[in-house]
């Protein structure tokens, strides 16, 4: 498979990059690690006029922290995030999520911004021109049909990013910049919840940094990912959990987030009500798992049947909470 034509841009500072994005009126597609965008380009699913590599912008790389917050540059590799001892100690779920992506060579290339901003998938959409040719475009391709759920009025493509659920569990935020301005939003607001266009970033904006508040007190976290093989594959379902407790082992705060359970990461909002102020017990975990099961939105558009994947939501929600609890030292 070959890449379609484009013009190549390679800014070496963030300012240059933002200038270019403005200059090309949103037609400059940022290229981070390339592990997700280039396969889509090869399939002909997207044809950027300008491709702007961010690899040489060193100011976007690296992990820093102060007393209150952790800062991860958008172009920091998943490998670096996985190997960071700071993350392994204080943000286990994020480290686990980074370490679960594909395989080592892809983690050397893939970046946190790229991982967050990856497109949703559906096997009726992610296929080559040979298969799409002659078919009416689906919602995601700009049309108005859905092949996964015939008769549907919306797109059911699935967000399979590993990092987002873990980051949301830690109440992380992202910095989004464009020429002359910068805004910070909670990561969950990065996602539209619409399969057609899952990421809410304007064409002239760039995700430049991930900011994670450092939790206080006693807490644990976990990211559990499920797939058929122990390497390479995207999650069939995943769950991240964050759990903070007081000295009496009662839950101070809890956050449970699902991956691959809809067009955006799914926050299991019920978790807080169910567990807050209580001890972590099986019945409560089961209740959260049930709530997660209800929130997961799955159709037959990935590797295994939706009914099976949905069942696994319960299992992995439980495992994530249990592991988060067990990780508390």
């Amino acid at each position: 498979m070959r890449l379609p034509s484009f013009n190549y841009l390679e800014p070496i500072t963030l300012t240059d990059a933002l200038n270019l994005m403005e200059e090309y009126h949103g037609r400059a597609q940022p290229l981070a690690g390339g592990t997700e965008l280039l396969p889509r380009m090869k399939l002909g699913l997207t044809h950027p006029t300008y491709l702007m590599s961010l690899k040489e912008i060193h100011e976007l790389k690296g992990i820093k922290s102060n007393k209150n917050e952790l800062y991860i540059g958008g172009m920091t590799s998943l490998r670096e995030i996985f190997l960071s001892t700071l993350l392994q100690q204080k943000f286990l779920a994020i480290s686990e999520a980074a370490g679960s992506v594909a395989a080592p060579p892809l983690r050397n290339m893939g970046t946190i911004a790229g991982n967050l901003c990856q497109d949703t998938r559906c096997f009726f959409y992610n296929q080559s021109y040979f298969w799409r040719r002659g078919l009416k475009p689906c919602f995601k391709a700009g049309g108005n049909v859905c092949y996964a759920v015939p008769g549907s009025k919306k797109c059911f493509s699935v967000y399979q990013g590993d990092l987002a659920p873990a980051l949301i569990a830690f109440n992380a935020k992202v910095r989004i910049e464009k020429k002359g301005s910068s805004r910070i939003i909670p990561i969950e607001e990065l996602f539209s919840g619409k399969g057609e266009k899952p990421i809410v970033i304007a064409d002239d904006e760039l995700l430049t940094q991930v900011i994670v508040p450092i939790p206080e007190g006693i807490y644990g976290s976990s990211y559990r990912k499920f797939r058929l093989r122990n390497a390479l594959d995207y999650p069939l379902v995943s769950a991240a959990a964050f759990l903070a407790i007081d000295s009496e082992k009662k839950v101070k705060s809890v956050k449970v987030v699902l991956g691959a359970a809809g067009p955006a990461p799914v926050i299991v909002k019920e978790a807080e009500d169910i567990l807050k102020g209580k001890k972590v017990e099986e019945s409560a975990i089961n209740e959260i798992a049930e709530a997660a099961y209800k929130r997961a939105q799955m159709v037959d558009n990935l590797g295994l049947p939706a009914s099976y994947r949905k069942k696994m939501v319960r299992v992995f929600t439980k495992r994530a909470i249990e592991n988060a609890f067990n990780s508390i030292k």
Binding site: N7, A102, A103, P105
Partner: protein, 156 residues
Amino acid sequence: MKGMKKELITLRVNNEDYEIFTYPNKTLLEVLREDLMLTGTKEGCSEGACGTCTVLMDGKPIRSCLMLAVEAQGKDITTIEGLSEDDELHPIQKNFIEQGAIQCGFCTPGMILTAKALLDENPRPTEDDIKVAISGNVCRCTGYAKIVKAIKESSK
């Protein structure tokens, strides 16, 4: 698309500098194979799922099918052809041969380079470390056992 122009790019591959006049939409894999005739780097799937296109970039294994050639400028690229010197095999290559880790050989260049990166970083890997390191390089022939053994032998 109108206007896509060839560019002169400079790549440092196996400690030699090459000037190549090419299009920006060429992947590093395509340039290695088609412009530099370094066909030891393979194309197995073209989407990052097999590992046969693995090369080392500044010592780390990457998928050359998912890297633009123009992006690889200023980096040190090592391909399988750069591992041996004048037909003097690298110890990892020797061990792959001696342990019977090579069957059809199509995954071999990517495997050997991945192994090199692992051993450069972690000279005493455990068997599990090795399995994780090569988990992105699929092999259809060997069942991996002898590959793991060859890498383990190379760490001694």
